[in-house]
């Protein structure tokens, strides 16, 4: 029996496809790493996911789980004809428990739909799901769990792992396990903690119990603009040093402001070298005191203006600008490539200078929009792939940026994951002992090695069918 025949046997009609359009579309995520799709499945239940995984084991074919395909590191790119398990149809909010501030959801629920669903179910409690990646309107909770995603408000609230209580997981042999629990922490090893951020290598989460967070009683959102990037970066460190951890502390540079302003028309200062978008939350007096102090620190460091959002509409508009920045890039150039290294806050001014210098040297445009508060950089190299030879320059510059970040005491990824993109950089950070320990953990979860193989952990084997965009092709 063929793989397709066996897959079809346990799934609803039309839930397995090898049509050319589907294999093409599912051969990559939002990054430009194109793999090779064996088949695409759209399961609707945990049992159907088990069926697909067991069938893959029977045929010794790898599988990769996928949500909305907004990932930027190639984590959901299928290699070696892997079966892509698309979880968008498992998109139900199963249970909301406002008293205990938690909810059970399927992995295909969109991040923003979860918060909206909580509001619809009972807005008296004023709860939300805290991790808010910029792609939150599109990305799925399953993808957030796989990448341990962050977001602007994770500076104060913590990243996804701090908001996942338990996961029902299908392992690569088709068995179902529950990691973590609704209640207090389990005895023994924190397998839930190991699973969150494992980028699909440990299994597939089919139900997730998330923690819900109280909405803040009072919010103030402000925009500080600077004549130099360095003045903005210095302000970041000074705010934290003054004892304030804002709910969010984001930076956007000039090129980014220009692209975003063309979309949202919010009156952003497009002549500024950089802006900081700062949000403070809490009780009214505390919020006012912190906002005043932040404005004073900003002015001392050279802020030209401090714009305070006057109402919820203005606040929403400023955030829309920040959260759609990546998507607005085509207003400058049609393609982009970015890293998301994290550096110590104190090193921000120096590393940013180096990034602009690297881009200049490679004759590339670079645009910075990032989570400044936790030093999580997102330098976007923007280019037009139709320009001959530009990809080589982009990749060379990207590699230099990673090296500079690691030399400054940083790490490879803040939130986008390692995926395919950064796995070859792993030895920069980890020695052989570290890596073999990680491989051993992976082996414990997936001894047959079919769950999203050849991702994250560097392997000596060459990537036969992986191409970093063939000549003349578009994705």
């Amino acid at each position: 029996m063929t793989l397709i025949h066996d897959l079809t046997a346990g799934l609803p009609a039309g839930a397995v496809t090898i049509d050319r359009v589907d294999t093409m579309l599912y051969a990559h995520d939002a990054s430009d790493f194109v793999g090779r799709t064996g088949a695409v499945c759209f399961p609707e239940t945990t049992e159907q996911v088990c069926h697909v995984v067991r069938t893959c084991a029977k045929h010794d074919v790898p599988f990769v789980a996928r949500g909305s395909g907004t990932g930027l590191a190639g984590g959901a790119t299928p290699l070696d004809g892997a079966v892509v398990i698309v979880l968008t149809r498992m998109n139900r909010i199963l249970e909301i428990d406002p008293i205990n501030r938690m909810a059970w959801v399927e992995p295909g629920v969109l991040n923003l739909d979860l918060t909206r669903g909580v509001e619809q179910s009972d807005d008296l409690f004023g709860l939300h799901f805290a991790p808010d990646p910029s792609s939150q309107q599109s990305c799925t909770i399953g993808g957030n769990v796989a990448n341990n995603s962050g977001g602007p408000h994770c500076l104060a609230d913590g990243v996804t792992s701090a908001h996942v209580l338990a996961c029902e997981v299908v392992l690569s042999d088709g068995s179902i396990v529950l990691l973590g629990s609704e209640g207090s922490e389990d005895d023994g090893l924190d397998l839930r903690g190991a699973f969150v951020g494992s980028e699909g290598m440990f299994g597939i989460a089919t139900k997730i119990c998330v923690r819900l967070t109280q909405n803040p009683p009072h919010v103030r959102t402000m925009l500080l603009d600077f004549e130099s990037v360095r003045a903005g970066a210095d302000t970041v460190g000074a705010i934290i040093a003054a004892g304030i951890v804002p709910a969010a502390l984001e930076m956007m540079d000039k090129l980014c402001l220009q692209a975003v302003e063309a979309y949202i028309h919010a009156g952003l200062p497009v002549d500024a070298a950089a802006v900081l978008l700062v949000e403070v939350t809490g009780l009214p007096h505390q919020v006012e005191a912190e906002a005043d102090l932040i404005a004073r620190i900003g002015r001392e460091k050279g802020a030209r203006h401090v714009r305070v959002a006057q109402d919820e509409a203005e606040r929403a508009l400023l955030w829309k600008g920040r959260k759609t920045a990546f998507g607005a890039i085509a207003r400058i150039k049609p393609n982009y490539y970015l890293h998301d290294t994290v550096v110590p806050r104190g090193a921000l001014p120096e590393v940013l200078d180096r990034i602009y210098e690297i881009a200049r040297r490679h004759e590339l445009l670079v645009l910075n929009v990032f989570h400044a508060g936790d030093g999580n950089l997102h330098p976007l190299l923007v280019f037009d792939r139709r320009e001959p030879g530009v990809l080589d320059r982009v990749h060379a510059a990207g590699e230099e940026i990673v090296r500079v970040s690691v030399e400054a005491g940083g790490v490879l990824s803040g939130e986008h994951g390692i995926g395919l993109e950064k796995k070859d950089f792993m030895p920069l950070l980890f020695d052989d002992h570290d890596l073999s320990a990680q491989i051993a953990v992976r082996h414990a979860f997936d001894p047959i090695g079919l769950a999203n193989p050849r991702k994250v952990l560097p392997s000596p084997a060459a990537c036969g069918d992986l191409r970093h965009v063939p000549e003349g092709a578009w994705i």
Binding site: D19, N91, S138, Y263, A330, R331, P334, G472
Partner: protein
Amino acid sequence: MSVVTGLDLVDDQLASCVGCGLCLPHCPTYRVTGQERHSPRGRIAVMRAVQWEGQSLDDDAVESLSTCIQCRGCEPACPSGVPYGRLIEGAKIAIESDPSLRQNPRWLRPALRMLGHHRLLLVGSRILALAQRIGLFRRRWPRLPLRGGPALRSSAADPDVWIFTGCVMDAWSRPSHRAAAVLIETTGSTFGVSGGGCCGALHAHAGLTADARRLALSIMRSMPGSAPILVDSAGCGAALKDYGHLLGTSAAAEFSARVLDVHEWLAPRLDHLIPVETDRRPTVIVQEPCHLRHVQRAHGPMREVVALVADIVDTDDDGLCCGAGGAFSMLQPELAARVRERKVAAIDRARADRQLMVVSANPGCAQHLGAAGVDVVHPLEFVADRIVRRNP
């Protein structure tokens, strides 16, 4: 096998998608199928494969492209401003230009042709309505009106504004035109009437460009001069505003510049409209038609006009399409019904067990939702019934 080797789309427009996926939740077909091939990002990738990589425009690719409702909800969601409407329109033209790929059923072309023959349309509609009454015609359509009342007549020879009456709108929803006339007169202005004629929107959507152009020229002749042209159907308004592009002439561009949705014209003149005194101000659910919200981006004025006489409740689905999409609900009935289920559920949530009316400024949406048992009234009729009339 297809003879089409490219789609003749503008390369820079096709290149302007970075594939971020922020459009996905705003696409009604992706929302119901969860498949990338039914999303704007997926469809653009399919267009690229055909135009740039020499992939054939086969049945597989055509399925992806022809299931697009063309609601254009992805456009305001796109930070890079990808002109998706232009791209999908071009792709549909390419599909229809190849006889072996043609998606439109045989009956579509003659049916759309009939829209251009106004008397025939009126008689045909009456026969259909009669057939429904005696049980001959059992399709799940809402009841068509047996009698729409007399046709609207111009109130002046040299009018301040034109009212565009359209084809199906004139056959099925004359009360909307009359409401527009009442409101315009109450502001102290006179109006002329275009007379029956089809704007060509459905033809343009179906890739029948030549038919659409012919109809556009005829519409332009019916409303000469420089007076504003007011449209009370969101779909027709969007089409009239696009004649500049459709015909590519300066005369057409000048004509399009005169076109306004009725609400756009009324909103700055609300001082002239006095709400009837009432004990309880009504509450109403607003359904914003895609061609008003995403294409004309004129839902703001519509809301202002409605807010004159009622409190507004919104659905919580960010203006996601109802699935009507001109002829889409007839061409892809199963998909259109699944899209509609989401909209009806959103309306039910907004209702929260109250007896609330739904207003929609597009006859296609009203018909499509009506077939699922949702009573929809045109916002102009809703407002005209609740203001002090100047000429009772």
